[in-house]
């Protein structure tokens, strides 16, 4: 209860700061528009205004303050403007429409899920190989760890061009980038998980005369589940970033990344912010969904 109150307070403060920040950020543009509309602006000289800070301008021209929350192309849109844009582009539009955020979100989400699925399956398979083969462990594992320190995003434009030149385009290149980004967290987490049974438990299975396969299915795999889910949560967030970044360099016309890029070309700040919040909501839902699955699975296994 107390923590809920605290979270709500922090959120309220953030929204309040946001509204307050809109005033100095947008006041320059508002005053230019007001001057054109015939209002008396203090100081009247546009060049002098450019050198002044937003706060002092707002203090001198209090009448213009409400306008800073209602501009069409503000430098910083007010929270309600973003909320209205989100509502308009999700609920009010048909989801097949090119202007619907649901449509763009689905384009990105489908690439994310496909890539996440591929990355997870490959990652788990490689982890199984690493745990059972000493050679793979010694040769692949150091590179898997090093690869986490590399900004893999740098590969994204190239993957898209390469796949395009062999005739693959659309969802697959984005999914490849997503898969790549979720692959290594899954490998590292799964290896840790499959190694988590201690010597005592492994010895017990040896006294049962269990084969390597039985040890894997009955001890290692169940023991790895908490580690797997922890890495899946990291992996799906990384997958979404990968899909969004994969949409940037191609000039794609649909998807959340394409919305961001188009918004940045045409100065449509409200569109950028709504795409950003759309991506954030999508990420939160995906991580939350994995959290629910994790709880159900672990409960069923008697681990939570």
């Amino acid at each position: 209860m107390k923590s809920l109150l605290a979270v709500l307070t922090v959120l309220a403060v953030i929204v309040g700061l946001w509204y307050a920040a809109c005033v100095p950020m947008n006041i320059h543009g508002v005053l230019v528009a007001a001057e054109r509309g015939g209002a008396v602006v203090e100081p009247a000289d546009g060049a002098a205004r450019r050198g002044m800070s937003g706060v002092s301008l707002a203090l001198k021209n209090r009448f213009a303050v409400p306008e800073t929350w209602a501009q069409e192309r503000p430098r910083l849109p007010a929270p309600h403007q973003v909320a209205i844009e989100l509502w308009d582009t999700t609920v009010m539009k048909k989801i097949t429409s090119k202007r619907s955020l649901v449509y763009h979100g689905w384009v990105t989400l489908s690439a994310t899920l496909l890539g996440f699925g591929i990355g997870t399956v490959l990652g788990v398979l490689l982890a199984v190989g690493i745990v059972h083969s000493r050679v793979m462990d010694m040769s692949v594992m150091p590179w898997a760890i090093v690869s986490q320190t590399i900004p893999i995003i740098a590969l994204a434009p190239m993957i898209i061009v390469v796949l395009y030149s062999v005739g693959v385009q659309g969802i697959i290149p984005k999914a490849v980038i997503s898969a790549y980004l979720s692959f290594f967290p899954v490998v590292v987490g799964m290896v840790k998980g499959l190694r988590s049974p201690d010597a005592m438990q492994l010895d017990l299975l040896r006294t049962y005369n269990a084969s390597q396969g039985e040890t894997f299915w009955k001890l290692r795999l169940p023991a790895s589940m908490p580690y797997l889910f922890a890495s899946l949560k990291i992996g799906i967030a990384a997958s979404l970033v990968g899909a969004i970044v994969g949409e940037l360099p191609t000039g794609a016309v649909s998807g959340l990344g394409a919305r961001l890029l188009a918004g940045s070309y045409y100065g449509q700040t409200v569109q950028i912010w709504s795409a950003l919040f759309g991506a954030a909501i999508l990420a939160a839902c995906l991580v939350g969904l994995l959290g629910v699955i994790e709880r159900l699975v672990l409960k069923r296994m008697g681990m939570a």
Binding site: M138, S139, Q148, T149, I153, A154, M158, S264
Partner: protein, 281 residues
């Protein structure tokens, strides 16, 4: 076709050698532990070179490692300028500002129970979001030069660093804190002598996560506009010109920079938190 067969042979021979090394009597020793991954890495490069040449894969799909190396050696001044622009100016300054601000914020959060209860869930939530999407907004605010890249990096590293530092500052047990109280230690005394050292493993975890995020942020932000240099700019324009050897050269630079940056932070961690169980050998 000959070269592809040679590639297969090289792969088989190296794998056999690695198997011998990994399962041999010397397997645990340091030289072998170093040699095995290095042989594996070298094998991939050799096989890559042979397969690309053997199948005559066009340059636009996959350049051979030798071509990339030649391009790398031939355009050192450009690569260095891009590195300075993206890494030193954009990523590093953003990293320092973001981690510093997050640390100060974490100390403030740590002093207030209410702030901790309220800010930590929000911080945890924000840390999992695709914050790199803020790049177009920040490029719009701070202009095309490195300042906007640094701003993106600040936003990206802030929350992971904050969450880790706050968790670290709570790492001490009630018993240890009580002991400091019986010594009549002031808040700052117990902060510097007990809680900050205890938080170091967590702080370094945040710093290490942030190294990669910083480079990603700086490179992606350049896709939204940059002056005519920088790693992200070079990658996106070279892809447009189908100069994939240049793209790979930039990727090599990014990989080297990322690994060295991470390694440097890990090295400092090793010296600062030598007492921690995870550092024991």
């Amino acid at each position: 076709m000959m070269l592809v067969l040679v590639a297969l042979l090289v792969w088989g021979a190296a794998w056999w050698l690695n198997t011998r090394l990994a399962e041999g009597p010397q397997a645990g020793t340091r030289p072998v532990r170093l040699a095995v991954p290095l042989i594996f890495g070298a094998t991939i490069l050799v096989v890559w070179e042979l397969v690309v040449r053997g199948l005559e894969v066009p340059l636009v799909i996959l350049p051979a490692p030798s071509l990339i190396a030649a391009r790398f050696a031939g355009s050192l001044p450009i690569l260095w300028a891009d590195f300075v622009q993206t890494f030193v100016k954009g990523a590093l300054s953003g990293y320092l500002i973001g981690c510093g601000a997050a640390f100060v914020m974490a100390v403030a959060v740590d002093r207030s129970e209410f702030l901790r209860l309220g800010l930590l869930p929000v911080g945890n939530f924000v840390a999992a979001l695709p914050i790199v999407g803020t790049a177009p907004i920040l490029v719009m605010w701070f202009g095309f030069d490195w300042q906007s890249k640094a701003a993106v990096v600040v936003v990206m590293v802030f929350f992971p660093m904050l969450v880790n530092t706050v968790a670290g500052l709570r790492e001490t047990t009630a018993m240890q804190r009580d002991l400091m109280e019986t010594y009549a230690a002031s808040y700052w005394q117990s902060f510097f002598k007990l809680r900050l050292p205890a938080a170091m493993p967590f702080i370094f975890n945040g710093l290490k996560i942030s190294t990669t995020l910083a480079l990603i942020g700086a490179i992606v932000a350049e896709f939204f506009g940059s002056p005519t240099l920088g790693m992200g700019f070079r990658i996106s324009t070279s892809v447009g010109q189908l100069a994939l050897d240049m793209v790979w050269a930039e990727i090599v630079v990014a990989a080297l920079a990322g690994t060295l940056f991470y390694g440097l932070v890990a090295l400092i961690e090793h010296h600062v938190t030598f007492w921690h169980p995870s550092q024991r050998r």
